[in-house]
Symmetry: C2
Subunit: 331 residues, 2 copies
DNA sequence: TTGGGTTTCTAGATCGTTCTAGTGGCACCA
DNA sequence: TGGTGCCACTAGAACGATCTAGAAACCCAA
């Protein structure tokens, strides 16, 4: 089969229905100005021919594109959850989503350029690693919304979660349970690792406790490696940079014959899908990624549709206590 | 800031460089037919104005789009690895990639339509769940390549892995170690669950062993639930539908105080990123997803550039033995 | 019947490119 | 001198839609 037939155009539909191109255009985009009877006739003809409007031509003419560009990291499973939520939010506001992944041989600039090439009316970047300068340059062309990173300079919007509040909740939760020797396995150079590190220091200080921080990273291996360096001086609780890192920590402890949470409590960050897995039941700070995604989409659409000044939305995270945190072993 | 300045066009560059639009076009796409001196002059002017070709207009005019549409499941972490590889393959053949995810409220048809709207010259669908009829309909419009599913009807290409061979390797590996009581936790209604189930039955038969199959699924929870039903009659080895399912099985066994691989060997499928995690070290059947992705891209490009008849590429998987399979406990 | 208002429909310009069919200039050679 | 071929360049028509301005059809009151 596979007849490489030329795909039908407005012209063809118009001809088949015996009306002008303009009228078909009116009908196809549901604009007012067509009699109900002809509207039906046109739709019928379109369906018959298998007509599908050419979005390139459509976009070219009417520069309002109703298209949001979203960049994400293919290696970051957590980002997939956000993509999911963003789709829902975008369609509910009548926009389509163009996706572009930051992958191994594909730097973020390339991903963003590609989104621009598709004619995105605005960009939503998840945890962007770009410089303020780069971000500003893009913001000069279209509205840019940074998701999960707030340190992005003036001209770009941001929708993020209050890292300090999140870490405070984590520390309060653990100290509330009676922990005093708490370690933070940090995120290394990952986005938002620095604010969480600082918040941990401040919060431990506030409680009059020593803030011990171990270099980590965003992956299981990072958590694993970090936990191995704990050595003799075992804490009673660990706050990991994120859930994957927490999992690495847990596995390392397990390998040493330690029980979580009996011997050591472990707290994650992100409340990602797998934190909820029944065998893990990881306590975690939830940033409510789906809500953040929706907020980012809203912000982007608002900017497209007129809002002038960039805004910086910060949401307060909340704690989800599951089975990996408990009071420290008595004694 | 955010000056919503009109973005410069060919016209502007032409005017600035004192040449015609057509010549600028020639220079911008690196076509022959421009003197080196003017070429430099034009490039200079373009750079100065911050000119960026409008891909919509460009695509509209030259219907060769150099764009591949790729659909994937946002919930399937494994698909992200394929996306990654597909990017590399696509760029190496000079094509760009349009991504579209199948997400919670977003059925596969919607994802595919959206790719078509972007003007994809061909579609690559990862583990498509569409009917033969739907697939054929799309294949009538553009070349369609199914990745990781081969039962897709005549008019669409497929690039997949030989499931029977994979399962044979798995069974041979385990029987070779001395296992005789082997269970398959299947994939339920997931794509390619059926062929693997059938292959397991056939291969166990060939070895003169009883093929015990337990209903499972593609997620950790499925594996967990399935493993719980093993009850008293414990096998010495389990072949899981995929790696995530295998992880669920392992965790369930662990929870019962059993050791992997000492008490029970567990084999995964996919050799996904996390199978390689140092604390897991999951033995797994590798489909070489990156290679498959590259093959799919190649196939799609070949079809776009002239190949007429659809092909069905089948690659042979290979076994990656790590630490979750071992000889059965003596006795 | 006329006239004004509304609704329905159409012709033609337009978006920013690429492509086709030239034009003009220069060098070479008979 | 003039023909031929080549190179650099250009004018203008596409591509397939939307948009603007205005024509045609219709309705109803005067």
């Amino acid at each position: 089969m596979t007849e490489q037939q030329r795909r039908p155009t407005l012209m063809d539909v118009a001809h088949a229905a015996g009306v002008s191109r303009a009228l078909v255009s009116i009908v196809m985009r549901g604009a007012p100005g067509a009699a109900e009877s002809t509207r039906q006739k046109v739709l019928e003809a379109a369906r018959e021919l298998g007509y599908r409007p050419d979005s390139r031509a459509r976009l070219l003419r009417s520069s309002r594109t109703r298209l949001l560009g979203l960049s994400f990291f293919s290696a970051h499973a957590f980002h997939a959850e956000i993509v999911d939520a963003a789709y829902a939010a975008a369609t509910s506001r009548g926009y389509d989503l163009a996706l572009s992944a930051v992958a191994s041989g594909r730097p973020e600039t390339l991903a963003v350029e590609s989104l621009l090439d598709f004619g995105s009316a605005a960009l939503i970047l998840i945890s962007p690693t770009l410089s303020h300068q780069d971000l500003a340059a893009y913001a000069g062309q279209v509205p840019v919304v940074s998701l999960l990173r707030d340190d992005v300079g003036d001209p770009v919007d941001s929708v993020s979660s209050d890292d300090h509040a999140g870490v405070r909740m984590a520390v309060d939760h653990l100290t509330g349970l009676g922990h005093r020797r708490i370690v933070h396995v940090d995120g290394g150079i990952a986005v938002s690792a620095e604010p969480r590190r600082a918040a941990f220091r401040a919060e431990m200080d506030r409680h009059g406790l020593a803030a011990r921080i171990i270099p980590g990273g965003p992956t299981e291996e990072d958590g694993l490696r970090a936990a191995r360096t704990l050595g003799e001086d075992l804490p009673t609780a660990v706050i990991a940079f994120n859930d994957r890192c927490a999992l690495g920590v847990i596995e390392s402890l397990r390998a040493d014959g330690l029980k979580v949470p009996d011997d050591v409590s472990v707290l994650g960050y992100d409340d990602s899908q797998f934190a909820r897995l029944s065998y893990l039941q990881l306590s975690s700070v939830s940033q409510d990624a789906p809500l953040l995604a929706a907020a980012a989409v809203d912000r982007a659409v608002d900017r497209i549709e007129g809002a002038q000044t960039p805004a910086h939305v910060v949401r307060t995270p909340h704690l989800v206590v599951r089975k990996t945190t408990a009071p420290p072993r008595a004694g």
